[in-house]
Symmetry: C2
Subunit: 372 residues, 2 copies
């Protein structure tokens, strides 16, 4: 089907290709039943690219990614490539994509499906209905700032150093993503830093406040220190909607928030760049789980996180909110009906149907049929 | 009673003086019944010192602290001093103590008492019996490293920066505290950093590993990235015993661990310096809760965190482990018997006796009598 939607699919390594196969079924369903088509290019990334091209992402694939409207990414890595040189590690393929596409806003939803509320280590009343979105700045901060390295200092001691560095525009652009997202959700943003002890935190708070006043005063904005937020995410996570924070704090807090759900195999993510002249942002969508080489090729992997990554793509890259809702509802209903891949078999198992990767994908497509 | 134990008591502001009064009853009991005496000096800190001396800690009090074997600290701050200049804020009193005493190892226990297991937002089976100790490096890292500040960069943008900086000796001395503590506990240490993306993390892991090999190979040592640890603390916190990490990660992870218990009003802390010729470390003990000005002077404050801070002092500054156990057991039994200050009234309240600050202190002393 002809379309103006250029999609690059990069299944990657491990369970990536298997779970991507299930998403292809949903893509096909959307084309046939909802006239939502894509021009799809597929390429290699990670170990698969290394084996064929000697690099974890070819220049050709990089070029295609830069021209695509969205990239749907699987997962990379595995024991076969553990000994690869640093510059050739499978992960470098993903890092190259993030860097050259300038994907500065990492969206990490943490959502608890009613059917899986028992999977959380938190009490059901604390997490039932949880639906928060953490936005992590992804291309600056202490993981990238210069100078960084080690030397022998004046006292003759070995000393290592890293620099946390943020410019006002870097802070503003990621906060803008948060405010815009909040408008489509519960219209509130929590900005988090350590303005009490870090200069970057002071600037972060200032710029978030200024931008809010200038352009987003209809959204509710609050601020919280990152350590206090680490506590409040445990005590009362449902008080939050959109949270925006820097690369370092986002790294930790988004993982903490993920674990609130108890089921990492369900969680998608999006990484967005700056909007172009038409308002469309470069974007990459991927599950937060890894390539799980231990179960790869066995038909055991859970395709839901990859499926929900595709749903995020529909919503954020193509403004197909209804279709995204449809996919998310189908997943929710399939879980409610008791379908479970192995990773979800925790707690009560009565009324549960243990299924493999393909059966889970088929169940989702069947539910899409039933819903429409 | 004559003793070689010089103790500086700094009750501070807000509820500090009230909860310290209850600890004085226990100190008196220990002197009378167990011949554990102290030479006690008392002084002002925080807003109280500001009111009297115009500074949040007088030079005299600082001198006394440097000469004392231990400092028992209450809490500082309140609305009365919120408008004080930065250099005169009540918190500066505590920061001066930490800095001049060079208290580089912050010990933050997170312990769940059986009687209060329901206070946690986590499921009882996840946190029942939890007893972990997080050791946070307190005097270096990104909150202190130079250069720090802001400027306009070459592109004309406002840019803020902070420097995370660690020397090998700074890492080794705090890891040594962790290994030594582990030997008195379950003999295992988890060291946490982000060696995958930070140069300071790489040095941290190297030095922890070297020190372990040189002097502490009888202790089990593991490493975990700080973001993974933020997850595992939620999933299976009881797998950990002693955790050692840097100032920034420790700030966040120790607060997350505290909240696992659900009752911050119970949690003590210790901050230790380098050992002197006799092996004794400079040390300050304080509850993790603040001065709670909203309930100050009303007899509502919970004296348990201050009491357990005193117990930590017995254990770590004076090697009085049996006496520390006695105090901790008395607290545990009083909670088991249903005594609750207002902050602990969560969840089920049948069989519970609501008490004020003094009744709680008296109940602990009475239980000490019963136990001995
Ligand atoms: Mg992370
Ligand atoms: Mg903290």
């Amino acid at each position: 089907m002809a379309s103006n939607r250029n999609l690059l699919v990069l299944p990657g390594d491990g369970i990536g290709p298997e779970v991507m196969n299930e998403v292809r079924k949903i893509i096909a369903w959307m084309g046939k039943k909802r006239a939502v088509g894509f021009d799809i290019t597929e390429d290699l990334v990670g170990g698969a690219a290394l084996d064929k091209h000697g690099v974890p992402l070819s220049d050709d694939a990089m070029k295609t990614a830069l021209e695509a409207d969205a990239v749907l990414f699987g997962s990379v890595g595995g024991p076969k490539w553990d000994t690869a040189d640093f510059s050739k590690k499978p992960e470098r393929g993903l890092l190259r994509l993030r860097k050259e596409m300038d994907l500065f806003a990492n969206l990490r939803p943490a959502k608890v499906f009613d059917a899986l509320v028992d999977a959380s280590s938190l009490k059901p009343e604390i997490v039932k209905g949880l639906d928060i979105m953490i936005i992590r700045e992804l291309t600056s901060g202490v993981y990238f700032g210069e100078p960084r390295g080690r030397h022998v200092n004046a006292a003759g001691e070995v000393e290592a150093f890293d620099t946390q560095r943020y410019t006002a525009p870097e802070i503003r652009r990621v906060c803008a993503v948060a405010f815009e997202l909040a408008r489509k959700r519960k219209n509130k943003v929590l900005s988090s830093e350590k303005a009490n002890v870090m200069h970057t935190g002071v600037l972060w708070r200032e710029e978030a406040t200024k931008l809010h006043k200038e352009k987003y005063s209809d959204v509710k904005l609050d601020h919280m220190y990152a350590d206090a937020l680490a506590m409040q995410l445990l005590r009362a996570p449902k008080e939050f909607d959109v949270i925006v924070t820097d690369n370092l704090f986002g790294d930790i807090l988004s993982d903490e928030a993920s674990m609130l759900t108890g089921s990492l195999g369900l969680l998608p993510s999006a990484s967005l760049g700056a909007p172009d002249a038409t308002g469309r942002r470069k974007a990459l969508y991927e599950p937060i789980h890894g390539s799980a080489p231990d179960i790869a090729g066995k038909g055991l992997a859970n395709p839901i996180a990859q499926t929900l990554s595709y749903a995020m793509m529909l919503r954020y890259s193509f403004d197909l909110g209804k279709e995204a809702d449809l996919v998310e509802t189908a997943v929710e209903n399939v879980l409610k009906a008791g379908y479970r891949t192995g990773d979800l078999l925790v707690g009560k198992t009565d009324g549960v149907k243990k299924v493999g990767t393909q059966e889970m994908g088929d169940a989702i497509v069947k539910e899409l049929d039933r819903l429409s």
